[in-house]
Symmetry: C2
Subunit: 578 residues, 2 copies
């Protein structure tokens, strides 16, 4: 609020001047009382003025008895998972009634550090959606890989004062917290100093460790998988998020733990939601509707998606339809199946019947385009020399991001190099460092992908986002890597030296300014190609599966640019077993 | 939180180091889940560590199955109403389980402006109680009287950044807000700029005006008298306080409006609580217990008195018994009649069985002692010359602060001066300006006080706190005023030139460093004297009645240092009717 805004609001509230807009015949959902108020909602200068009263308005919209719901606030998401730039992301999620998000840009920051942070903040200013950020707390995610940069307390200080930065992003390094690691605590101290929030990420942390983790001021967790975990965290003063992402779907399990006392400390979030999922199922409303279907009272669910998130992040200007709040809300015919018909942000109609009315103006990704800094790459580097036929192998578990630590007997040529056998579903997996021209290429074997012939490469490889490539032959693999570099990142498929298809992600190799619909179409087409032309097993998602193969915090075997990593042993292991 | 505190908390939480204290066999009230957790509560370095776990402690206390309740937070109070300095106030309220208060020092600031603010902040630092302040928004309360100073936006800026100043105090000038008065909005803008709270005070404000008042960011109201008013405010996003003061007792009416949805937006407060009331009925626990007696769920009531207040004022470090929160809590045998047996602040036992263990060290009230700057006072100034026998008169309504606009026929001497008639219960009332030596003395007539002979004078006269004196003869009245000046403020009673008794309030004429018990005893004795020796009617409180006779915002007739004021007409009126 400012003095000028206050004067204008008072003039509008008291009827001294006409309001910008009135939405007549609305059923307004009141998150404070849980009541539905029937009436005319007056809006002026982007703010809610009030319901009813002796007021005039310059413009009228007839809600025809539809429900007016406060704009949804996504408590935690990674915009990069949508493959979209913040402005393109805004254009796809706003039509679903999401009007604010709290985003952790740790994917792109793993690639381009504070340059990415600056770009994300600049892009947010151009977006119709209100985008707040949490400064990434864990870049790189682990010391077992090379990311584009290292973000410490010093780097965090550069951005922590920004009004759009609400604090420190998900503190994934929970062992570091619990063991009072100096570097971790230095980062927390940046948030302490500025009285900003710290988001959590604490799967399976419980009892005394959880006391410590929460005790040092980590206030949210979106990694709960069971109602018991949710209750354990809320009882200790945490806000718990019910996540409905593309891979991680926790709403139905977690909603069982919500009751009419503890709901106050629960929010919804999407975390990682792929473009196809958004286009197919919507955004935050998807999780909200699932919870309602499962029996949660609709107004309680709406409170969780609105005022609770606002309270959690100290966003005093939103989360409710009440005097002085931002006029961010949407109309829906039903409360049992929430579907935004018309979405208003800042008092303006911005989306209708699922479409954005005026696309956000993109921001040029200066300095963070491409970022494919690969040194001395050649097919030669993909060769896998073995000392034994008996080797460690990454076993894909269909539909999951965890893998099994497998063993296999493979074939070697006369020089000891691995040879692909068409009778066995074993392929080569390589991670190519792409950030600082280190020249690192690590190679391992993987089973269960199903591909018969060719190669797939991508620059989306959590969390360091080096290049990950899979194939049956080094030539196609090398060709895929080279093509990906020339694209500036994305996903590519190669067979017999020919590029089958590309998904270009020109911003840091992770995001594109294309629309969600285009991206979704491209990916749908490429999925088909991967199954039909490359013979990838229908049990696995050809791209998502690859994206998680370099993430050394998810068991059991993963491959980083340094080598094969055993997450259970928390150390690198030799591929040779004998 | 700081890095050092975090490291120590982590060591304590994980059992790496022993905790300072464990409270065994407690029933811990969880304000997040509303559950009662049975177990051992560990505390270290002033912070809560957690319940149970494999931990050791240097010291043990056996709760013997008593309930452990988070320390109560008084959402709104004026410390000056207790007649006690902040340190003396701390010592009396802490034993009742109040561990934090949000205080508006507008009484003492009316006398000494920012000097008082500085003193109150300094005193707060010495108090066991956590004292937060709201910077007074309405000094002077009206333009119809002379206070000690005028506090505007500029003066507010001096203190608004202080961590102990949570925002702007109760905005009593609601017409000024609704009508967008520039000076009022300048003050609000100080809070906007620093993202601080603004407290409200909006009796009888409703519908469109209330939309405006709330819309500009005023977030609390403690002036609700009915459940309907409470609901109307909560529905618009306000926090509503259930007040149980000495004169204003709203808990029983307001608790009717609380339900299991809206309780989240309700707090308790004491506002103005006299020393005798505190000694007799306790502090915030009084209102909480009344609400529970009236049927409110005890844990819900506790949430309102703790976490809700913490949320309302952004006090993230308190309001719950959870890891990392301040170890402010108390033990009570029952939840149906909450009575603090042992009170802990910052992890230390500070009060037991109703008594503070170690009194707070007082702060010298440098620069704000006395403040009885009266110029050219003489008995002559108390003479009341009338043009008519038919006059306006202030009619006291027993037990209330409102008065009736009365008329009377009185007697005059040969020079036209009013003459006291012992057959009629009509006395002289005078207000003597005491702040800036203006020499103002205003005189009027008052009916219903009952006093037969003598005079009573006090420097407590809301909100400007000039001297108010009542009597049947000018000599005793003048003598009372003179004696009050020499005391440096307080209350005094005079009869036939002899001082009957004194209550000395040496700090700004409003507060004393004496203990609550001493003050309470003095006042009890003086009440007796007023009834027995002066013949004051038992229907009225001899001192409280006087304190509100100069407050020109409470109908119908009041007297300021400028003259007789008709609050309904909102203007000064002539005492002569014909």
């Amino acid at each position: 609020m400012t003095k000028e805004k206050a004067i204008r609001l008072l003039d509008a509230a008291t009827g001294r001047k006409a309001c910008d807009l009135v939405i007549r015949n609305a059923k307004v959902v009141n998150v404070y009382t849980h009541e539905i108020q029937e009436g005319d909602l007056f809006v002026d200068n982007g703010l809610i003025v009030g319901i009813g009263g002796n007021r005039k308005a310059k413009k009228e919209i007839d809600a025809k008895g539809a429900y007016l719901v406060p704009g949804f606030i996504d408590g935690h998401c990674h915009i990069e998972s949508s493959h979209l730039t913040p402005t393109a992301f805004s254009d796809i999620v706003v039509p679903y009634g999401t009007t604010s998000v709290i985003a952790d840009p740790h994917e792109i920051c793993n690639v381009c550090g504070n340059d990415a942070m600056a770009y994300m903040l600049k892009s947010a200013k151009n977006a119709t959606l209100s985008i707040y950020y949490m400064y990434p707390s864990c870049v790189p995610a682990t010391p077992f890989e090379h990311a584009g940069c290292i973000l410490g307390a010093k780097e965090a200080e550069e951005f922590i004062d920004d009004d759009s930065v609400l604090g420190l992003g998900e503190m994934m390094n929970y062992p570091g917290v619990v063991n009072a690691d100096e570097m971790v605590l230095d980062k927390l101290a940046v948030a302490y100093e500025k009285k900003k929030n710290i988001d959590g990420h604490a799967p399976n942390v419980s009892s005394s460790d959880l006391d410590g983790y929460i005790g040092v001021g980590i206030t949210t967790d979106h990694e709960c998988a069971t109602a018991e975990e949710l209750k354990e965290r809320i009882a200790r003063g945490m806000y718990v998020m019910l996540r409905q992402g593309t891979a991680c779907k926790n709403v139905l399990d977690l909603v069982k733990g919500i009751d009419d006392k503890n709901y106050r400390w629960a929010l919804f979030c999407t975390d990682d939601r792929q473009p196809e999922t958004i286009v197919k199922h919507g955004h935050l409303n998807h999780g909200v509707n699932l919870a309602i279907d499962a029996g949660l009272d609709p107004v309680t669910a709406i409170c969780m998606a609105t005022i609770n998130a606002a309270e959690c992040y100290g966003l005093k200007d939103r989360g409710a339809i009440a005097p002085g709040k931002r006029a961010d809300f949407f109309l829906t015919e039903k409360l049992t199946d929430i579907s935004a018909k018309q979405v208003f942000i800042d008092g303006m109609l911005v989306a209708e019947n699922g479409s954005i009315l005026k696309p956000s103006v993109p921001v040029k990704a200066e300095g963070i385009e491409g970022r494919m800094n690969v040194k001395d790459f050649s097919a030669e580097k993909l060769k896998l020399k073995l000392n034994s036929n008996h080797v460690r192998i990454i076993d894909i578990i269909p539909g999951q991001v965890v893998t099994k630590a497998g063993e296999a007997y493979v074939k070697r040529d006369e020089n000891g190099y691995w040879v692909h056998e068409s009778s066995k579903d074993i392929l080569k997996l390589a991670v190519v460092e792409r950030h600082n021209g280190l020249g690192n290429v690590a190679v391992a074997l993987i089973r269960g992908y199903g591909m018969k012939h060719g190669a797939v490469a991508t620059s989306i490889a959590h969390d360091s986002h080096n290049i990950i490539v899979i194939g049956d032959n080094d030539e196609d693999m090398a060709s895929a890597v080279r093509n990906l570099i020339s694209l500036g990142g994305g996903i590519t498929m190669v067979k017999d030296g020919k590029v089958l298809d590309n998904h270009r992600l020109e911003v840091g190799g992770l995001m594109t300014g294309d629309s969600a619909l285009e991206v979704s179409k491209t990916l749908e087409r490429m999925h088909e190609t991967a199954y039909k032309e490359l013979g990838v097993s229908k049990d696995v998602d050809p791209f998502m599966t690859l994206c998680f193969m370099a993430l050394p915090v998810i068991p059991e075997y993963k491959l980083t640019d340094i080598g094969l990593f055993d997450v259970v042993k928390f150390d690198f292991v030799d591929i040779n077993l004998d």
